[in-house]
């Protein structure tokens, strides 16, 4: 039993999208720009050339926030969306009826429709691929050129993620919604 989470040193992100491709290859995510488990959020730059605000141009790598109080899980009528014993929010494709309540409920827009199975899909922390084989990193973490992500067990005080969170300031996204995300953005 673990309690998996992820810390993102998001200032390192150069928006190269290596993580997106690695995720697709590892997990068999379909081709198509609308089908992705992870993404990099980009904001339109503020200002007029040549007086542009560098601070306004940020890259925010994101994916399913693996909430402790996941709204998607609450609304699922068939229990397709569930927690694993390691605290990962997963979708059981056999139970999913594509009612898409979960897609509406997710405040982070982290779900999409997988068209070969016609079910909802999302980030699994590579639970059914890499972790199943005993690997200790997710595909997005392992490939990252600037090493944005650190994945690990939040309940293990000696894990790298626990050490990082103990020593670095961090924030979560849309904290006020009470979803208790387990993705932590390092400041």
């Amino acid at each position: 039993m673990a309690n998996y989470g992820m810390a993102l040193d998001y200032k390192n992100c150069i928006n190269c999208k290596a993580c997106e491709v690695a995720c697709k290859e590892e997990n068999g995510v379909q081709l198509g720009a609308d089908k992705h488990r992870i993404w990099v959020g980009v904001k339109e730059i503020e200002g007029l050339w040549p007086n542009l605000s560098i601070a306004s141009s940020t890259f925010e790598p994101s994916q399913c926030q693996q909430c402790e109080n996941a709204p998607c899980q609450e609304v699922c009528p068939t229990q397709a969306t569930h927690y694993t014993k390691d605290g990962v929010v997963m979708v059981d494709a056999d139970k999913c009826i594509l009612c898409s309540y979960c897609m509406e409920a997710c405040p982070y827009d982290a779900r999409y429709v997988k068209e070969d199975t016609m079910t909802v899909d999302k980030c699994t922390f590579c639970s059914d691929t890499r972790l199943l084989r005993g690997e200790t990193t997710t595909a997005c973490q392992a490939t990252c050129p600037t090493k944005v992500r650190t994945f690990g067990d939040l309940d293990d005080p000696n894990s790298e993620i626990s050490i990082l969170l103990a020593h670095r300031e961090h924030r979560t996204l849309k904290t006020h919604l009470g979803t208790k995300p387990k993705l932590f953005y390092l400041i």
Binding site: D9, N12, I14, G28, L31, I45, A142, T143, R149, E160
Partner: protein, 794 residues
């Protein structure tokens, strides 16, 4: 595991190239070896089954990052970073990850093809390898063969040209074409890439060096876009420390790039005027005595002449402000900050030549670096070390009839080996070559997309009697070839072992993850077989025409003649007597012993004491060498910075960096300056057919300033015609404030014209079709940012 694009489409893609033309082949037979390699899939998914893990070196761009291929049931399903290679820092970029899609690209060249239609119409016949080699030697009813050409040219080997793109098998092609077949007429990517950067730095500080971005505390990065044009290890090291975390970052670029987004300050410099900026920085440093005086006295040869030169010419920040669009105050501030930093770096830059003054710009940058004294030391530009591998000598024959290369027009310093693509091509087109150029042997190179002025490249290719291409995909250039030889992609071949130097040197080996698919062959096997086919007939041609050979061999008996042929290197096959695998083992064992070879085979990487030095620091990072074993300082007293390079004057080149007013940035009213560049998701035209990457960037756009676009009624996605003096393209608009009102920007590598590359065909615009074929005067390298264009909505 599922087929993620329809099987029908995949089949269509596979057979398209092979069934056009004379012979029609059933689709089933084309996929006859499908079972052998497992079911073809476009998107992969890993499973829990037992997998082979094969160390490879990435071939998606020039960096050669190390990876581990996960192979399940004969199919490559995932590429992961290899944590042992210091240079690539345990990562793979998006292109590295998407290598699987290049391996399994439905449009790959699968079989040898011989042209049966007209050049450019795409009609080819599938042939056997021997028939393809035979067509190269003897021609067909559609084109002349090499033997007839060399017979007509009386064995003047120089009538054959060749070109090659960057890669681990490039050297072998040079051995075959240059050293063995004997032509000097070779062009490659250097003269359309970073020739002036390499040349300028080598002429000034003795090497291009490596910027120690892990330890620098201040960097000026001008015209280099490390966040998008990824270079290892620079990119990895820079952006973990930018944004107020130890590496102050000053970016100069005409447009706002992802690198600018990571900067402390961004200056929208006018294209082609960086030299004025560096001269003004230098002015401040001399005027305010900010330079490292002891270091200058010791190592900077002629720095006092330069001081007088810079002061006398009045290269003040006020002077530079007008030229560069960078405020004088900012130039003062930058110069002072740079010189007061402990480890400042003026980043060398890479990629293409921007403007005619590029050689002088790089000289000025290197001298400026020298003035800080931050050379050959931690946090500076370092020289490092390289692990030596034994070299196999090639016994190269002498051909009396072969002549010197001719592409020297307008060039001050003639770089003998690789020449200038533009000068070479244009002199042939203008009939200025002193002897005919009749054939082009090409490999992994796409001049139709890479060399400015695509129309001229097409004319040039059409002028040849014989064009041969070795490649993995039917590129624009491939479609003008007579014989096409399908090469195994980088994941299907073991490549010659390579050594990478600098701070943390290592030996690396690319191993084949799977066997070559379809009928493709590895480059070295192709060189060998081609050499076997050509060697006897070409030798006979030399006996017929080469007076030196005739004199030498007069009255020789058959066995003596055979001995002469071998001993004097006329046997073309000699460099390929051993396989790549055998040679790799031999070379590594000879240099480092059996144990090193075993490590290299298993891990893909070897360096002395790797077992002791290599440590995992955290889940993401590794130590490759302990800090006290890194090669920060290797030059010592041999260090020399050539400031006043008097010999250059004899060649008509300024001996010290000097600004000339004709280099000022000028754009006529109503026109735009075209600037081009790269991004992290595509390398060049070679990666544009990759499905996973197409997902990320489906096409290129023309960046146009938002306010300028509004004035002209241009909105996002509108199709524009972009026209220069040499051509026009159609490309969609992307209005943005990230570019100046009198400039436009487009990504390089798009706009493919080969219909056989289904994903790339017709997507976006090809910049080479509109960039005017101008050269800089030192090496004749292509100048990429001196073209003005007109645009209109269509």
């Amino acid at each position: 595991m599922k087929v993620e694009i329809s099987r029908r489409r995949f089949l269509q893609g596979s057979v398209a190239l092979s069934i056009i033309g004379g012979t029609s082949i059933g689709a089933t037979s084309l996929l006859s070896d499908e079972n052998e390699h497992g079911e073809m899939r476009i998107m992969t998914r890993t499973t829990n089954t037992k997998a082979q893990k094969v160390p490879f070196l990435c071939g998606m761009c020039v960096n050669k990052c190390a990876g581990i291929a996960r192979v399940e049931k004969g199919v490559v399903v995932k590429l992961d970073p290899n944590p042992y290679f210091p240079k690539s820092r345990n990562m793979l970029c998006p292109r590295g990850n998407a290598g699987i899609q290049t391996l399994y690209d439905p449009d790959r060249l699968k079989y040898p093809l011989v042209r049966v239609g007209n050049r450019g119409d795409g009609k080819y016949k599938r042939v056997s390898w021997d028939e393809a080699y035979d067509a190269i030697l003897n021609g067909t009813d559609k084109f002349k063969g090499l033997l007839q050409i060399l017979d007509e040219e009386k064995d003047n080997r120089s009538t054959i040209g060749y070109c090659n793109g960057e890669g681990l098998s490039k050297e072998g092609f040079e051995e075959l074409m240059g050293l063995k077949i004997g032509t000097p007429n070779y062009v490659d990517e250097i003269s359309i890439c970073l020739e002036t950067v390499l040349g300028g730095y080598s002429a000034t500080i003795g090497a291009y060096g490596e910027a120690d971005m892990s330890n620098a505390d201040y960097v000026i990065i001008a015209g280099a876009n490390r966040a998008e044009a990824i270079i290892t290890p620079d990119t990895m090291d820079m952006f973990k420390r930018s944004k107020g975390r130890g590496l102050k970052t000053i970016v100069l670029d005409p447009r706002f790039t992802n690198t600018a987004a990571k900067a402390d300050r961004w200056y929208a410099v006018n294209p082609g005027t960086d030299l004025a900026f560096v001269l003004a920085l230098t002015y401040v440093v001399f005027d305010e005595n900010l330079y490292d005086k002891e270091f200058a006295k010791k190592y900077l040869v002629g720095y006092e002449d330069y001081k007088n030169h810079v002061i006398k010419n009045g290269y003040t920040p006020q002077w530079a402000e007008k030229i560069t669009n960078i405020p004088a105050d900012e130039i003062y501030k930058t110069a002072r900050e740079f010189m007061s930093s402990e480890h400042p770096i003026y980043y060398q830059g890479r990629r293409s030549v921007f403007a005619k003054n590029d050689f002088q710009l790089r000289r000025a940058q290197a001298i400026f670096q020298g003035l800080s004294g931050n050379l050959d030391k931690k946090g500076g530009i370092i020289y490092g070390k390289k692990l030596a591998l034994p070299k196999e000598d090639v016994n190269s024959p002498m051909y009396a009839q072969a002549q010197d290369r001719f592409d020297k027009e307008g060039i001050a310093i003639f770089a003998g080996k690789t020449g200038s693509w533009i000068v070479f091509r244009n002199m042939v087109l203008e009939g200025k070559n002193p002897y005919p150029l009749r054939a082009m042997f090409m490999r992994k190179h796409n001049p139709m997309a890479g060399v400015p002025n695509t129309k001229k490249t097409e004319e040039f290719l059409k002028k040849m009697d014989l064009n041969v291409m070795i490649d993995i995909l039917p590129s624009d250039t491939t479609m003008f070839c007579d014989v096409i030889l399908p090469e195994a992609s980088y994941l299907e071949r073991t490549s010659p072992v390579a050594s990478y130097g600098f701070l943390e040197p290592a030996i690396v080996q690319r191993k084949a993850a799977i066997k070559p698919m379809f009928e493709s062959k590895t480059p070295e096997v192709i060189y060998k077989e081609l050499a076997e086919k050509l060697t006897e007939p070409l030798w006979k041609n030399s006996l017929k025409y080469d007076e030196d050979v005739q004199d030498d061999t007069k009255g020789m008996k058959a066995d003596e003649l055979a001995k002469y042929y071998k001993e004097n290197g006329f046997d073309l096959t000699e460099p390929w007597e051993k396989s790549v695998e055998e040679l790799n083992k031999e070379r590594v064992v000879k240099a480092f012993g059996e144990e090193a070879w075993n490590t290299l085979e298993e891990k893909g990487v070897y360096y002395p004491n790797m077992d002791k030095y290599h440590k995992q620091l955290n889940p993401n990072e590794y130590q490759y060498y302990p800090d006290d074993k890194k090669n920060y300082t290797t030059k010592g007293d041999k260090l020399k910075v050539v400031v006043n390079f008097k010999n250059l004057a004899k060649k008509g080149v300024d001996p010290m960096p000097t600004w000339h007013d004709e280099w000022a940035f000028k754009v006529p009213d109503g026109q735009f300056r075209l600037v081009t560049g790269r991004h992290a998701q595509f390398t060049q035209s070679g990666t544009t057919n990759n499905m996973a990457l197409r997902d990320l960037i489906p096409t290129n756009y023309i960046w146009i300033n938002k306010r300028e676009a509004k004035k002209r009624g241009i909105e996002f996605g509108d199709m524009l015609e972009v026209k220069s003096s040499i051509g026009k393209i159609h490309i969609k608009a992307y209005p943005t404030e990230k570019i100046a009102p009198n400039m436009i920007f487009m990504l390089h590598g798009f706009g493919g014209s080969s219909k056989e590359m289904e994903m790339a065909y017709g997507k976006g615009g090809n910049d080479a079709a509109i960039i005017e074929d101008k050269i800089e005067p030192v090496y004749g390298a292509a100048v990429m940012h001196e073209t003005n264009v007109e645009i209109r909505k269509v």
